[in-house]
């Protein structure tokens, strides 16, 4: 189509959540002074600079995910003290915070207080910790993975991005790579496509020319092909139950919409969900359109003491309270429990001693106050806060993926608490004498997708 309805454009632009809420960095000059003391990466030619790029990619990944300093306990543990970086726990209370940003109002965390419930147990236990390791030879590992998809060649630096590289070409199919934590992440795209979407304009009108939808590749067949590809990766561990989804797509140069089938397979390590998964997308003919996953190894780092549910809940409550602050005015929110009065003056500390941050998600079916369709929404009154006390009533011990301060990642014991608001909250469960969280928070949360 050649035009976009003006009213629709206006409504879309009016829905921009940051309109009227200007951003001002709290301390940009000091930040720049600090950054400019850091080493820079010299520009290198693609021909001879690939190994340098590899190293810088790993360094960049570490830079993004690290920042913590391990503090050894007075009583040396029987296993090495884990140097846990400033990663975050993804607490996800089911508290609705909806509304457009008021003019001049900062985005702050909701004023939620967590309390450990009497139902939580006080017993301690121990559990193994698993560490992920990067392939020792990234070039060889990249080329091996690429060859699994029929792509050969030397790696080249990916333009317009940082810390990634590519083998192959759009014409022949390609695989993008980067280091995330301590694993090599790969993403395959079939020949002739452009990131899984059309790479050239169709012969007819892009929208009006779409004719029909072709049924997708059967789930069972997709799963069988995915299993073959996974076997080639020689990963430690096993794979969990696959899940399937479908998506409409329009192949390059065609006007017929087809259905792509995607199979997603979780990576299971020592019976634990590693948090990583593999995804394979097929067109109706069973041709692999795209795929992504990780490569690396996993080892047992040792068996560590695990704190009680109550201790972990109290730690979570303490760190959570330090992250609370006023929230933007909700359009329509009814918290399950409310105490106190709206103050709008809570100050969020610059740093969190535990590095824990939190996020909120809207409850299912939340509707909020909405303007009638066809109108441009208005901005809400600022200043309202949402004080709320949530009691943690149950806990499940499992694992969560964390980044260590040396840039590697690990599966650590983690409690998942359920609050009386129905939300879930996670807290790393290792004994504090074995690990000290770094003071600088890393923002690693977003609304659940």
């Amino acid at each position: 189509m050649s035009e976009f309805d003006e009213l629709m454009s206006a409504r879309l632009r009016a829905a921009d959540p940051v309109v009227g809420a200007p951003y001002v960095h709290a301390n940009l000059d000091a930040t720049l002074s600090r950054i400019t003391t850091m080493p820079r990466v010299a520009k290198v030619s693609l021909a001879k600079g690939f190994k340098v790029k590899m190293a810088s990619a790993a360094a960049a990944a570490m830079l993004v995910t690290s920042g913590g300093i391990a503090v050894l306990s007075a009583a040396a543990p029987s296993v090495p003290v884990l140097a846990l970086g400033a990663t975050t726990h993804a607490a996800a209370p089911d508290t609705a915070v909806r509304g457009q940003l008021p003019v001049g109002e900062e985005l702050m965390m909701p004023d939620v207080t967590l309390v450990a419930g009497s139902q939580l147990t006080t017993g301690t236990t121990s559990a193994p910790v698993y560490e992920f390791t990067t392939p020792s030879d990234l070039t060889a590992a990249s080329q091996s993975i690429a060859s699994d998809f029929g792509v050969t060649g030397d790696p080249s630096v990916t333009p317009s991005t940082d810390g990634s590289w590519t083998i192959g070409s759009s014409a022949d199919g390609y695989v993008d790579f980067w280091v995330d934590g301590s694993l090599l992440v790969w993403n395959y795209t079939e020949p002739g496509t452009d990131g899984g979407v059309v790479s050239s304009p169709p012969a007819t009108n892009a929208t009006d020319g779409l004719q029909s939808t072709t049924s997708g590749y059967p789930d069972d067949a997709a799963n069988a092909k995915a299993a073959q590809l996974l076997a080639n990766l020689h990963l430690t561990g096993s794979f969990g139950a696959p899940s399937f989804s479908s998506d409409d797509a329009t192949p390059a140069g065609e006007t017929t919409t087809v259905q792509w089938t995607t199979v997603t397979v979780p990576w299971v390590v020592q019976g634990q969900d590693s948090g990583y998964s593999f995804s394979f997308t097929f067109d109706p003919a069973g041709t692999l359109v795209s795929a992504n996953g990780v490569a690396g190894d996993v080892t047992t780092a040792g068996v560590y003491a695990v704190v009680s549910e109550e201790t972990a809940a109290n730690e979570l409550a303490t760190s959570f309270s330090k992250r609370s602050g006023p929230v933007v005015s909700p359009l329509d929110t009814t918290p399950s429990t409310t105490t106190g009065t709206a103050s709008g003056s809570t100050v969020t500390p610059e740093t969190s001693p535990s590095g824990v941050t939190s996020s909120t998600t809207a409850p299912s079916g939340a509707t909020g106050s909405t303007p009638s369709t066809g109108t441009i929404p208005t901005t809400n009154e600022p200043g309202a806060t949402l004080p709320q006390v949530v009691t943690l009533v149950s806990a499940t011990l499992g694992y969560g993926e964390y980044t260590l301060s040396d840039g590697t990642s690990a599966l650590l014991p983690q409690y998942t608490f359920t609050g009386d608001d129905g939300g879930t909250y996670t807290q790393m469960a290792l004994d504090p004498s074995d690990v000290t969280l770094a003071p600088t928070p890393q923002v690693l949360f977003s609304p659940a997708r």
Partner: protein, 167 residues
């Protein structure tokens, strides 16, 4: 006269940090001011380290591209944890940043109905204000492909809007 690396980074920060911050704010919500600053700092650190690689004629798209990677890292981490948590407690998989901040129900629903790639290019264009050429730089595709993707995404967005408002 050519500027020093420090002067160039300072200029980049003052000229584009707001755009970068807004890009991140639109996609991570809610987000505290200090956490937002931290994310912007991550982008600036990458800018500093890769200063010689930043094309002078495409500085903003390059920085948005870095912010996009920072965001991807954040979401991958969150998604991994979310997947773990989801195995224990069902969550609303359809929730997205737009759900929290977009008051226009039809707009929100249409954005939610779009595929990730359609929604991304729509928001980059209409919220982040990127031109077709800049979209191509951020998404590492040709300008032609960016134009086609945007056009198709607009078409599908409009279809969703019209269907929703005709119900």
């Amino acid at each position: 006269m050519a500027s020093s690396p420090e002067q160039r980074l300072t200029r980049l920060a003052h000229e584009h940090s707001t755009a970068v911050a807004n890009y991140l704010r639109r996609r991570l919500y809610p987000l505290s001011a200090s956490d937002l600053d931290d994310l912007v700092d991550e982008v600036l650190v990458v800018c500093w380290r890769r200063l010689d690689s930043i094309p002078e004629d495409a500085e903003l798209p390059w920085m948005i591209g870095v912010a996009r990677n920072v965001l991807s890292n954040a979401r991958r981490s969150q998604n991994r944890r979310s997947a773990f948590v989801a195995s224990l407690s069902p969550s609303d998989d359809d929730a997205s940043a737009e759900d929290y901040v977009v008051a226009d129900t039809a707009i929100r629903d249409a954005l939610t109905a779009l595929s990730d790639s359609d929604r991304e290019i729509i928001l980059l264009h209409f919220w982040d204000g990127l031109s077709t050429e800049q979209l191509s730089q951020v998404l590492s595709i040709t300008t032609n492909a960016a134009a086609v993707r945007l056009s198709r995404a607009q078409g599908r967005f409009k279809d969703f809007m019209e269907n929703a408002e005709n119900v």
